[in-house]
């Protein structure tokens, strides 16, 4: 657009005039131009009237209260949920790694027949099929079941339930899955934002205790894992290390709590877990 007061008047000047975006140096020239040409002035007025009518026709939309789903906070929550869903898939994959040979037991027969000739199915798909075929109910909600009793029944021993209320997480559900040396269990804790922390435990044949260690996993997941020489534990969540670390430590303390349940076959090999400081 011209800013030179002497330049000839152009269409762009007329539209800038309508839109109030005319360079101040140009304004007098445009006004003089329009004053001498009533037809052009009428055209400019028509442009402005049209613009105003269009604004008026659409004003209602901008005046409407915005729907809740377009609040940025709702969008953040939706993003967290999406991350969580990805986290669940990753957690399912992690579970299959943790349960390891247990799946072989579960998958013998039907699964093997279906799966063996083709490429290996994805871990979540395997889990899905496994759950579909399972004669037992493998997941229960904390709202409808006494988790401690249910776990005792399925694991054949007491499993301490960590209290993560201090971190804002409440027990939501529990899972039990077959594993090589017994059954593995998962506890799922959820906070008010829908972020989930999963706590895994499965028996291990490796009697050597492993101190707490941390691993970053795909999808923004962080896992803290350790072994007390009897059970392997993992705490996984889409949280930064510094937030998950105290949670994992709390779970570790809870899992150390003396159990009144019958001890397993590896009990004689239990050693105290290393109390190595964390970097």
């Amino acid at each position: 657009m011209a800013t030179d007061p002497q330049a000839p008047i152009g269409e762009d000047d007329l539209h800038a005039f309508v839109d109030g975006r005319l360079d101040p140096a140009r304004a007098p020239a445009v006004e003089r131009y329009l004053a001498g040409r009533p037809e052009e002035a009428a055209r400019v007025r028509a442009f402005a009237a049209q613009r105003d009518a269009l604004r008026e026709a659409l004003a209602f939309k901008a005046a409407e209260p915005i729907p809740a789903r377009l609040r940025i906070e709702s969008l953040h929550a939706a993003r967290r949920r999406a991350m969580l869903a990805r986290g669940r898939a990753a957690a399912a994959a992690a579970l299959l790694l943790l349960t390891g040979a247990g799946l072989g037991w579960a998958a013998r027969g039907t699964l093997q027949a279906q799966v063996a000739p083709a490429a290996l199915p994805s871990a979540p798909a395997t889990l899905h099929r496994l759950l579909a075929q399972a004669p037992l109910r493998l997941e229960v909600s904390a709202r409808e079941t006494d988790i401690a009793g249910w776990l005792r029944q399925h694991l054949g021993e007491e499993m301490p339930l960590p209290d993560l209320a201090g971190f804002g997480f409440a027990l939501d559900s529990a899972w039990v899955l077959p594993a090589a040396a017994g059954a593995s269990a998962m506890l799922r804790f959820v906070d008010t934002d829908g972020i989930a922390v999963s706590v895994w435990r499965r028996p291990t044949h490796d009697p050597v205790p492993r101190p707490l260690r941390c691993a970053d996993e795909p999808g923004g997941l962080v896992t803290y894992s350790w072994s007390d020489g009897r059970q392997l534990h993992a705490v996984t969540a889409p949280l930064p290390r510094e937030r998950l670390r105290p949670i994992a430590q709390a779970v570790e303390r809870a899992m150390e709590a003396p159990s009144s349940a019958p001890v397993g076959a590896m009990a004689g090999l239990v050693r105290q877990p290393c109390r190595v400081g964390l970097g």
Binding site: E11, D19, Q50, L54, K61, I66, I72, L75, H76
Partner: protein, 177 residues
């Protein structure tokens, strides 16, 4: 990005939601589709925030995302197909005319804007309704400012002619009714 910066960014984004909804509605003329578009736009913006270079114009950036999503029209196609089905079912039902005069006029101006080529319509809406500067509009549409000016000029002139041609017969009809 610090917590405060995120809060500030969210506040500035949310302040633009009414204008984004208006622009989306003026493009799609369908409330649900418009809000889907705004939601897509905001989700995209939140996801792409890190890749946003510099501290450019937030408004122009969001309008650009929305407009590009509209043009690429992923959801629009699905909805259009559903609409077509409905039209096929209710094709014989006439649209009742009526409502106060201002509504008729508003519908008229919207109907006229709809007949413009897409790029002229977008310029008229961005400049005239959303109050974006010519430079911002150029940024949204990813064209030079000169192109914005010529589209604005052609679109407005076309609308003006249309209004001139329609004025007389429409007024006569209204008197009859």
């Amino acid at each position: 990005m610090g917590r405060q910066a995120v809060k500030d960014r969210d506040r500035r984004m949310e302040a633009l939601v009414p204008a984004l909804r208006r622009f989306a509605w003026s493009l799609t003329r369908n409330a649900d589709e418009a809000d889907d578009l705004v939601q897509d736009c905001l989700e995209h913006a939140l996801g792409a925030w890190q890749r946003r270079h510099g501290d450019g114009n937030l408004r122009a950036w969001l309008f650009a995302i929305l407009y590009n999503l509209y043009v690429s029209g992923r959801r629009r196609l699905a909805r259009r197909a559903r609409l077509l089905e409905q039209v096929a079912q209710f094709g014989e039902v006439a649209t009742p005319a009526g409502g106060p005069d201002s509504t008729v006029q508003c519908a008229e101006v919207l109907g006229q804007v709809d007949t413009l080529p897409e790029e002229q319509r977008a310029v008229l809406l961005l400049v005239g309704v959303e109050g974006l500067s010519y430079e911002e509009t150029a940024e949204v549409l990813d064209v030079p400012v000169g192109t914005v000016m010529s589209r604005l000029s052609r679109g407005r002139e076309r609308l003006r002619r249309m209004a001139e041609e329609q004025q007389a017969p429409v007024a006569a009809l209204r008197r009859v009714v």
